[in-house]
Subunit: 382 residues, 3 copies
């Protein structure tokens, strides 16, 4: 969606879909799909090369997933369209995490969940405020919607803190105790119910409170072209398969990349994997910020955080009982939980008044940089 | 008070006080007093039966205490009336806690204090927002008063965190060190002074900032009937004695109930005892929410939290030196302190803009459910 | 500056600078300089006497530093004047901390940094709100500026929490690990960059958002007298040397004072040293509060906190590599970090609506008193 919107204003609606496809620079990155596949068969290729090649391939695929979801949602009416957007909006993150889950890399799954929230809340929003603020002295957005998002984020942070603290206090050498598994399942179910009611609230009973976000999700007015339902569905399926394929290569190369670059698994997960998975929304939030559409910008960045915490995370917990070698607990480390809470409170303070300027962007980016530095220097042992 | 208000609008002022008494459904629960007393003498009665029978008996007694306090306060003028309400408003919680204190069940006292705050802040307010929001799309209340409450709650949370952290860091096997006792006494005195000044502030120098809450406390306008001072005093004394009697049975059966139902003492205290003690105010806050009197609703729920933290808690600390087998320290566990902080911040975020809707109720209830789940699954050992 | 402003309204501009000098009661405290020097040579003088004599001598010196900085800044135009104020405004704290750093008293340096923030945010602002509120029922200030300050304070708290948590988790018996030193240097550089951009923001791109604070810093309108640049520079240099001299005596006597009075080093640092270093700004913030100039009052108190966290602290970290026997890590204890976070959140809650009254002062002072009690009773071992 990132480029769809960013380009919509300047691109000339081409009659030939292929030409219009090539006109969008992001699609050139699709070339990294064959490159990655080829590289995978080169013997002795360094892991970081494979990792970053797969990462670059995922970015346009993620954008394509988001774009085809949007096309589908314009064909289905507001409520179902909103639901589609809300469900598939974070499909890239979900796909990467499912692949890592299946591979049993639970630490990376957790790190990429926490990292995705940090990346959206601090980095994407920080860059959007900074670049928007350099163009416009003072930018405004709907503070009521932001407050609703902040509270949801806080609820989400609580829902991650409680099982994490539980794990630290009670997990034994042999792993988490039985009660912890039940607590995790209970919280996952609660979050999915809360998320379902949140969709009801934002799409049905109080859409006006989120008006501008809605006009982004459901409105196809600024879409450059209109796809048929068949094309949208086929694209969505193909892109999802492609994302899964590239994710497997990405996740497979992650360990070797960490060793080669002297970075811990957690750092790789919390910074690189998270940024790759969320690149489409981040790009979109930043583009909206530069165009002074702050309501859209804030809505995309914070809405994405909420989806990850209240939809992707509990789905992964429940899916782990079917897919993963062992169940996923929401047992984040102290550093991850601390970072999440600091990010959520910082976001609430910064966005609370419905105004932004370039220095608010710097504040968010400073917090992100401090947190990233911490994870970079953190010894792998813990 | 719960029903007093709720019924005032519909009940026909009866000339016969006995008939009007029977008309209020809550008073039928008074039948649980003789039932509880009878059950206590049945040999081999299961503890949970006795526990819940005593709990059901306490609910109407608590309502009676609140109602007679209100009657008294209408006879005494605004300032003294406000003082009476502020002092006896949480009499049920205080009585239950004093009984548990005397029995040396310090963990239960602490759990019921923390639980009473959680129940008021998250459950009562959550249900009030939810039920109110289902009837009215958007409800509004005075954000300035709410902010004053939020800050008081934050001060209260700090005052509970500091001695708890101190205890975790310095208490030895032999119990708390001498400095911790002095710290507890010092903080208790500070809190009582702060509470006294809070009454001065809210009743004398800035009553306008709390106007609607005041009109609830001091105003007998919507009281169904007017009692003589003698009747109010006698009722208050009898109800308090009854509350103490039922509390002893409740507290005595708590341990057996926990064992029989597989629940820890802390869970019993933080959920059941807390809800029983605060049922009167909770009911009142919810009833006001449904009648769209949100200022009253928020004022009752948050005011009750403040009273517990700044008045009931320090009184219990000081009283423990005279009543209890050993002094009560405000040494809450990590889970309790963490829950309190999350509840206070969540309350501040949710209520900060002076608006509520049904989904805000869901948010508060979700946090309450997550916290309750945590305490339910928490192994008793800790 | 404290008295400069406070007296400006009442003092008659004297033609004789010496007379006008003696008219200000604070300058009589300068007599404590010779007293302190004399006491230092008395054999067997109790350490507390020397400590408090040096402390009383520092107060007027600090006021002189602030006053001569202000005089200089009126001669240099708004931007450079603002920069001068921002750089030398916390010179007393910086000088005391540098002296303690050189003496290798790293715990005292950290305690005085944390204490300076607590003293400004809770004590100075609390007294200003209380005394102002006793005179004026309701006082108002610019909530946008306060929100910017609160966010900066939050960023600062994050920047102190991260290395402290890192230290607790990874430091070995032999001291901090190599990664921790690099993390500290990285964060120090980040903070100085953020502070530089903050000056750019508040002095150049968005001065209007801080208008009233600016008119305090740059405006010489209410200065009683106008000094020549030479006089201002000479005074500034002499006062800084005097501050360094007295600080050495203060720091040298701190250990003996703690032992004599039964107080820990941390308590001495966090309460006494911090109050002495910040007395000038605190006095100024309080005087402005009493004169109902709340924007100035809040700006001085919160601006000073930000300077300490984002300028003084990183400068000390970097300076420690040249001056101190071993590098300074921002490794605060749990109690200090917890207090900082509670203070920052409390400040954000209390000031967030741009209104103050006497009870808000009581709330801030209660939190300060609870924290001070905790440090007083905390065993020295930890």
């Amino acid at each position: 969606m990132s480029t769809t919107h960013a380009e919509a204003a300047i691109a000339h609606p081409a009659s030939n879909p292929f030409i219009s496809f090539l006109r969008r620079p992001i699609n050139w990155f699709l070339l990294f799909i064959p490159i990655t596949v080829a590289l995978e068969h080169v013997h002795g290729i360094p892991a970081p090369v494979l990792f970053f090649s797969a990462a670059l391939a995922i970015v346009p695929i993620a954008a394509t997933i988001v774009a085809s979801t949007e096309q589908l949602s314009t064909r289905t009416g507001d409520a179902i369209g909103g639901l589609l957007n809300a469900t598939f909006g974070n499909a890239p993150e979900l796909i990467i995490a499912l692949v890592a889950l299946k591979a049993g890399l639970l630490d990376m799954v957790r790190a990429s969940l926490a990292g995705a929230i940090l990346a959206n809340l601090l980095m994407a929003l920080g860059v959007a405020f900074l670049l928007g603020g350099l163009r416009f002295k003072e930018q405004r957005f709907n503070p009521a919607a932001t407050r609703a998002y902040s509270t949801m984020m806080f609820v989400a942070a609580v829902s991650m803190t409680v099982p994490s603290a539980f794990n630290r206090a009670f997990a034994t050498q042999a792993g988490p105790i039985r009660e912890e598994k039940m607590l995790n399942i209970g919280i996952a179910v609660l979050l999915l119910v809360a998320y379902g009611l949140y969709l009801l609230f934002s799409l049905k009973t109080h859409p006006h409170a989120f008006a501008s976000v809605e006009s982004d999700g459901g409105g196809g007015h600024d879409l450059e072209e209109h796809w048929s339902v068949a094309r949208a569905v086929v694209t969505l399926v193909l892109a999802s398969l492609g994302a899964a394929w590239m994710s497997e290569i990405l996740v497979g190369a992650a360990e070797g990349t960490g060793q080669a670059l002297g970075m811990s698994q957690v750092f790789i997960g919390i910074v690189f994997v998270a940024i790759v998975g969320g690149a489409a929304e981040s790009g979109s939030a930043i583009a909206m910020g530069r165009k002074n559409k702050m309501d859209l910008s804030v809505g995309i960045a914070l809405g994405s955080c909420i989806q990850i915490a209240l939809f992707v995370a509990p789905v992964l917990v429940l899916a782990s009982y079917f897919l993963a070698p062992k169940p996923l607990e929401l047992a984040f480390g102290r550093a991850e939980i601390g970072s999440l809470f600091m990010a959520v409170l910082c976001g609430a303070l910064v966005c609370g008044d419905g105004q932004s300027n370039w220095y608010k962007g710097i504040q968010l980016l400073t917090v992100y940089a401090i947190i990233a530095l911490m994870f970079y220097f953190m010894p792998a042992a813990t």
